[in-house]
Structure formats: structure tokens, C-alpha cells
């Protein structure tokens, strides 16, 4: 059996090609952060149990900590760095900022990528659908409620509605 060798491959990340050499036992999370310097994707539990490492592969949210990087070659990889259009944040990012849906922010990139995939499929998700969709993302700070509200606010704005955060969700009731 031959010694493990680095493989050279081109990844499509956020629409751009990235050519990197890496060992086949590296996870997508490690290669994104350490070889491509895309450190927006977070390193949480490493066990599949927190969702902080969520990225999109061909539009579907998946856990980059349990995916070997080699398996992502040839796929369309999207990370939190790909959400904004230049300096212009996406509606989802704006809504999270407006509502304070992030506190420490560690869970936020994973939650944004999961919610972004939902909104791409479903322009008017119900509260229940949002909860189901985010059932794999843990947040230790916010209590999740503002996160659900932020997804609803972003969805409304994406539909072209003039939605503003309610006073209660900013100041409490």
C-alpha cells in the first residue's frame, strides 16, 4: 500500500475556483479554514452535534466537520463568506443585525447558511418550518427566538414587503 500523499484539487467555493493541496484525511472544515483561509465557518463540536460548521453543498446545508474535503471536489460549495454581495449584506444578514439575532456569534454562520438554503426553497416559511429547518443548529446565547424572528423578517423583505422589526423583538415586551 502506498503512503498517503497530498492531493491537488480545485474546489468551487462561493463561485470561485480554489486550487489547494491537502491530505485526504482532512475534513472540508479543516481545508476551508486552514488551506483557503475561509474562517467564517466555525469549528464547534466536531461531532455533528452543533451545526456551527454548516456550509451548503449544491444548495443543501451539510456539516463540514464530518465531510472529507475530497468529497466536496467538483461540488458547488457555499460558505458564509459568499452570502454578501461585495460590501452589501444579504437580507438575512441585515435581519440578523437589525434584530440582534446574534450574541457571541459563534453559531451565526452555520445558522445563516441553513436558513439561506430554506429561503431559497421556500419564500414564506412558517414558524414551524423554520424551527424544523434550524433543528440542527444550536445557539447557546439567544434562546433562538430572535433567530426565528430574523428569518421571518428576512423572508418578508425578500418577498418585497416593507417589514420592520417589531418594537417587542428589539426592546422586549
Amino acid at each position: 500500500m502506498t503512503e498517503p500523499k497530498k492531493v491537488l484539487a480545485t474546489f468551487q467555493v462561493n463561485g470561485e475556483p480554489h486550487e489547494v493541496a491537502f491530505l485526504p484525511h482532512k475534513t472540508l472544515l479543516e481545508v476551508l479554514r486552514e488551506e483557503m483561509n475561509l474562517t467564517g465557518t466555525k469549528h464547534g463540536c466536531e461531532l455533528g452535534e452543533c451545526g456551527a460548521c454548516t456550509v451548503q453543498i449544491d444548495g443543501k446545508p451539510i456539516l463540514s466537520c464530518l465531510m472529507l474535503a475530497v468529497d466536496a471536489v467538483g461540488k458547488d460549495v457555499r460558505t458564509v463568506e459568499g452570502l454578501a454581495n461585495g460590501a452589501e449584506l444579504s437580507q438575512l444578514q441585515h435581519a440578523f443585525a437589525d434584530l440582534g439575532a446574534a450574541q457571541c456569534g459563534y453559531c451565526t454562520p452555520g445558522i445563516l447558511m441553513t436558513a439561506d438554503a430554506l429561503l431559497a426553497e421556500n419564500a414564506s416559511p412558517t414558524r414551524d418550518e423554520i424551527k424544523q429547518c434550524l433543528a440542527g443548529n444550536l445557539c447557546r446565547c439567544t434562546g433562538s427566538l430572535t433567530i426565528f424572528e430574523a428569518v421571518e423578517l428576512a423572508a418578508a423583505r425578500c418577498r418585497g414587503e416593507k417589514a420592520e422589526p417589531s418594537k417587542e423583538s428589539i426592546y422586549g415586551s
Binding site: 492531493v7 484525511h25 446545508p61 440542527g136
Partner: protein, 326 residues
Amino acid sequence: MKPFTYVMPTTLAEAGEAAKKPDTIVKGAGLDLVDRMKERLQTPSQIVNLLPLKTEMAGIAVENGELRIGALTTLTQLEQHPALANRALEGLRHSAASTATPQVRHRATVAGNLLQFTRCWYVRSEAHRCLHGGRGPTCLAMTGDNRYHSVLGWMDCVRVHPSNLAPPLLALGAEYSTVLDGKVRRRKLSDLFPSEPRAQLAEHTLEHGEIVTALHIPVQPEGARSSYCESREKLSHDWATTACAVRLVMSGDTIAAADVVLGAVSPVPRPRPDAAKVLVGKKPSDDLWKKVAELAYAGAVPLSHNAYKLTVGKAIVREALEQAAR
């Protein structure tokens, strides 16, 4: 992780040949395997990735009336496929839909789910050395913290079989196909699990290099309905503490045939034929469910920390029966 060489086969024959090499393991999505390799509980020098074979090994198709589920079909595909959107297969659909988290279900394969390693916290920890997994002299859970362990059918190791899909597939009479040395074999799903689940045995009976290619669900009789229920500590992310899959074949308001299979309470998924046969010829009633639930757990022996599984498990059996009959 210990470095390994990675084989990306282009045909099943190539995968089969590579999988036979020593110190080699095959991989589906890798959700279970990558986790174990990070803990260095599994340190193969070669991995054969099955994902490039998705065209031939993934997807759901009706073949001669029966349902063929490719081994690489994901749990999301199983949950969403129209072929499962009926009362007969609801137990399987629901078990897929309630597994883990959306991110896991988008990648987890059906074969990987059935063949996943136990979640026992001793044997999955690098710091502990258990007989199961071949690293130590005894089952540490037997005398340790065994709140998530077996109450039924255990021998010298009290691990539980964690797969959500196994109980409903068994209740539906599923079979599985494998390939080894180019030879295709098709067997009853119960043959995939050891009949005497000793510590030294794996969770499954596959030989080294044998690859599961598909699951087959026979045509379900008129009036068939299935259900799957589980108890767990968290609404999402969590493995079951007890689980039950039921298939009832109704003839008018009478039960003409029945299957009851328990999950998460024994080292292998456990069909309970003695409980199921009591249902035959009867009409649904809570008294009947209570009787069947008692029989499903007949002979159960709880460990020091898991007597709750008997109470909760019986309630789950009643709920699964009620859902199937409703």
C-alpha cells in the same frame, strides 16, 4: 485522524476489489466513520469511498412491485420520496424524517445508518477500553453508567443498536443485497444482525469487503399500515432511548397480521413475534395495546441505571400500535 489512502472507484467491481484489501474500510457519507476516525477508534490505512457510485447505488425505484432502495440513498431522499408517502410505508418514512438533524439527513446513507457503530459512550471514547471494539477485557457499561444501554437480549456487552431505520425495515419484511468477490447475494434483513450479539462481534454480519448495494421492501398487502415511535431526551440531534416499529395489516376493523420490532433496547434490533401474534384476529383497543406492550418487554432485565426504559418503552409500543391502527 490517521492518514489513509483514498480510493474513488468508478465501478462496483473496482470498489469490491479494493474493499477486500487488508486494513481497508468502505465509506458512505462518512458521518459515523469520520467521527470514529477522529477518535482514532478506527484507523484504516485505506478507505474506499462508495459515493462515486451514486448513479447505480442511490435512489428509490419500484421493481416488480417491490421497492428497491439503493444503499447510498440519503435519509432526506427517503423522507421525501413519493413512493413512501402512503400508510403502509409511513413507519419507514417517519423514522427517516425523525433521525438526527436536517444537515445529517441530507448526507446520511441508508446503508450507513443500518451499519453505524453503537453509540455506547465507553466504546466510542478513546479514553476507555472495551471488549466490544477489541480494545479491552470487558464491557465497561455493564457495571458503569448504563442509562442508554440494553434491557433485552444482551450477552457479554450491553450496547444498543442505534439505527432508526432498522426497526421499520424489519417490520416491513425488508431484504438486503450485497456483493462480495463479484457475487451478488440477497438475504432477509434479520440476517444482517448477529443472532448472538456477543461483545467481540460487530453490529452486523458483513464479511470483510462485502458491500451492501440495496434494500428491498416487498409489496405490502392491502390494508397494511406501519408506524415508528421513539422516546428520546432531546427533540432533535438525539438517538432514541427506546423505539418501536409496528406493521398492522387490517381487514376491516380486525388485525389480520402484525409485526412489532423494538429498537434502542438491545444490541440488535429486536422483532417481538410473541407480542405481535397476540394482535392477530383482534380489534384495536387500548387493553390490547397494553397486553402487547407487556409482551414486547417480556424477559427484559434492566441494568443499574436504565429501569426507566421498561416503562417508557412500553408506552412507546402502545403509541406505535395506536398510530398504526388509527
